[in-house]
């Protein structure tokens, strides 16, 4: 941005902030320095339109209206109460939290937004040391779809995107009335009314491919009052606090399978096929995946009990040993 334009914009903001009357474009042209440079009406008009857009993009609430019913055309002003950031004071521990929060994002876009907020907070007199070194450094990862979906939720706009289920290559277009974006177990989801299914659904952001498109005008989405977004996501992704579902007795080869051993209780030694090892007991939280976990260790881990687990592991190993796993 040229210095002349920056200067003109600052003067425009000051002029519009200081007036109670709505100032017409013509009046603005007459008083704000810089617009005098416009040689023709058309050049001024272009210049002024661009400046208005710039102010709106900066988040400046530009009001339009007429100061009296006799005014033939609309004018502009900035209401101070809408422009100004409210009073804010942060205690040292709160400021530390804010500084840490501002560098939490791993996305440049969100980092930029958070940084913009800090600039304003500092201008409001808050002392926030963004570069203060802390012993804890948290990071939150976001997906490309995060920002457009958040904006759609906030403006109440319907969205359309391509979505891929985890177990299938198929990409299907979904049209969603988004109610909210939810973070659950370090993964992001969007919850809303799925227009294709005509039912509430949640979608994982990492499985959205391509761009998120908006459909129709803002304000079209109405989120039901009684929906608990977090419960919705947690409910569909298995939120139950895992309790041990089964107990298994295993044999572990000496010095092997440290990952299983550290969760197990050794009950005694046992030598199998001349290999020394231990009999251990271990609580299984997810019996259905336990067979995978155990089979992966090959000859280092053998199942003693229960039979059903021993059989599940043997089935897996037999199919692989036969070469089916390699050639099928």
């Amino acid at each position: 941005m040229s210095t002349a334009r920056a200067e003109r914009l600052v003067n425009l903001v000051l002029a519009l902030l200081s007036t109670r009357q709505f100032l017409t474009a013509e009046r603005i042209r007459g008083i704000v320095p810089g617009y005098g440079d416009a040689a023709t009406d058309e050049a001024f008009s272009r210049m002024f339109e661009r400046d208005k857009t710039e102010l709106r993009e900066l988040g400046i609430p530009l009001e339009t209206g007429r100061s009296s019913v006799f005014d033939p055309i609309e004018g502009y002003r900035i209401a101070r109460r809408d422009y100004e950031l409210g009073e804010i004071e942060l205690g040292p521990d709160e400021a530390t939290a804010v500084a840490l929060a501002a560098r939490l994002w791993d996305s440049p876009e969100l980092t930029g937004q958070a940084h913009g907020a800090l600039v304003k907070l500092r201008a409001a007199g808050v002392e926030v040391d963004e570069h203060a070194s802390t012993i804890v450094e948290p990071r939150v990862h976001t997906e490309p779809a995060f920002a457009p979906l958040l904006s759609a939720v906030q403006t109440g706009t319907v969205v359309r995107f391509d979505y891929r289920r985890s177990d299938s290559p198929e990409r299907r277009e979904r049209t969603l009335e988004p109610w909210g974006v939810v973070s659950w177990r370090a993964r992001w989801y969007v919850v809303g009314h799925d227009r294709d299914r005509d039912a509430p659904r949640c979608f994982r952001l990492s499985r959205i491919t391509g761009d998120v498109r908006t459909v129709g005008k803002p304000g079209a989405v109405h989120r039901p009052q009684d929906v608990n977004l977090l419960e919705f996501v947690a409910g569909t992704s298995g939120s139950q606090d895992p309790a041990p579902a089964a107990r298994a007795r295993l044999w572990l080869a000496q010095g092997r399978a440290a990952g299983i051993r550290r969760h197990a209780t050794v009950t005694g030694p046992l030598t199998v096929a001349d290999v020394e090892g231990d009999v251990v007991e271990v609580d299984l939280y997810f019996p259905e995946s336990a067979a995978d976990w155990i089979a992966g260790h090959g000859p280092d881990v053998l199942v003693l009990e229960p039979d059903v687990l021993a059989k599940a592991v043997r089935d897996r190993l037999e199919r692989v040993a036969l070469g089916l796993g390699a050639d099928a």
Binding site: S18, W105, L150, W184
Partner: protein
């Protein structure tokens, strides 16, 4: 950050910023705005030319410079910063909520107070529609580990630990010089100089089995730099060997869970991927555990190792005492 898009927000924030800090050093202000002192002076010169209609001596923004400090003597009505945009308020408040949900980082109470204050000051830009629930349940032992690590970091002491390395499936004793705690994707890590490896390493707190704070001070060598933390912090290195795998539909999650390069969609919903691995025994465990869900297309040595381990396991299981009903 001297791009033109950054200049307007800075110009609008500068006068209120200076008003709140009479006589501040220009160098300090430049630092706070993340620009050079030269750029900041240019901004001040520009603002000095701006003011209220009339633009006489009493209408222009007035600054007084004293040595290397600056104060505002007339603000032309720019007393407060512009309110936060919806995007700015969201980025900050959502991050704060995430922070409040992450255990062991900052005082949750301070986070809640900061959120309330920012939401109130932001007024109509209140972010809605985002819920952050980390939902990761932590074992009590991990919470205790973190308190010990935190104490060592604060006291600047070395740690001795028994650590489980998942990639090698082994437990080792190490002495480390702690550098910082990292929380990435809801997992807590200790970043430390590992004296055993002679390098900076990340240690997941839930894999630390024993932990002692030593009397000796933490002394990471001068060259030990914390890593740049990003999403691909755990990405495999380029020089690792690579496997080509075909995933059946029920094993496609592997492509989401581990860094993989998707090569081709095959019939029947199968997916061919390329995946790098640091340790062959880890890769064998992954493939073997998936049974027929994963086919190794290459290298042949990996496919052979998987088959061999399966055959060895079946052979050894036949030697189990009959009391175990095999």
């Amino acid at each position: 950050m001297s791009g033109s898009t950054e200049r307007m927000p800075r110009l609008l924030a500068l006068v209120p910023y200076l008003l709140a800090r009479p006589g501040i050093k220009i160098e300090q202000a430049a630092q706070d705005f993340d620009v050079s002192a030269k750029q900041l002076r240019k901004d001040l010169e520009l603002l000095w030319m701006c003011g209220l209609p009339g633009y006489g001596p009493g209408d222009l923004i007035d600054l007084s410079f004293d040595g290397d400090t600056v104060s505002v003597t007339f603000d032309a009505g720019m007393r407060r910063p512009l309110r936060l945009t919806g995007g700015e308020a969201s980025a900050l408040v959502i991050a704060l909520r995430a922070l409040g949900e992450t255990r062991g980082v900052v005082d949750t109470d301070a986070v809640q107070r900061a959120i309330a204050k920012i939401e109130s000051a932001a007024g109509n830009a209140q972010p809605a529609g985002v819920v952050v629930g980390m939902g990761v349940r932590e074992r009590e032992t991990t919470a205790r580990t973190r308190e010990t690590v935190r104490g060592a970091l604060q006291a600047g002491r070395a740690l001795r630990m028994r650590y489980y390395t998942a990639s090698k499936d082994e437990v080792t004793d190490r002495t480390v010089d702690p550098m910082r705690l990292l929380i990435v994707q809801a997992n807590s890590y200790l970043e430390a100089w590992c004296r055993r490896a002679g390098a900076v390493r990340l240690f997941r707190l839930d894999r630390i089995d024993e932990l002692d704070v030593l009397d000796e001070p933490a002394a990471p060598p001068a060259g030990a730099e914390p890593r740049q933390v990003s999403a691909d912090v755990f990405a495999p290195r380029d020089d690792y060997p690579e496997a080509v795998l075909v995933l059946e539909p029920d094993a496609r999650w592997i492509a989401e869970y581990y860094p993989c390069e998707e090569l081709a969609e095959l019939d029947g919903g199968r997916l061919r991927v390329r995946m790098r691995y640091g340790d062959e025994s880890w890769m064998v465990r992954l493939v073997l555990g998936r049974g027929e869900g994963v086919h190794v297309e290459g290298p042949e040595s990996l496919a052979q190792a998987v088959r061999q381990r399966a055959a060895d396991a079946l052979a050894r299981a036949r030697h189990l005492p009959v009391t175990y009903g095999q």
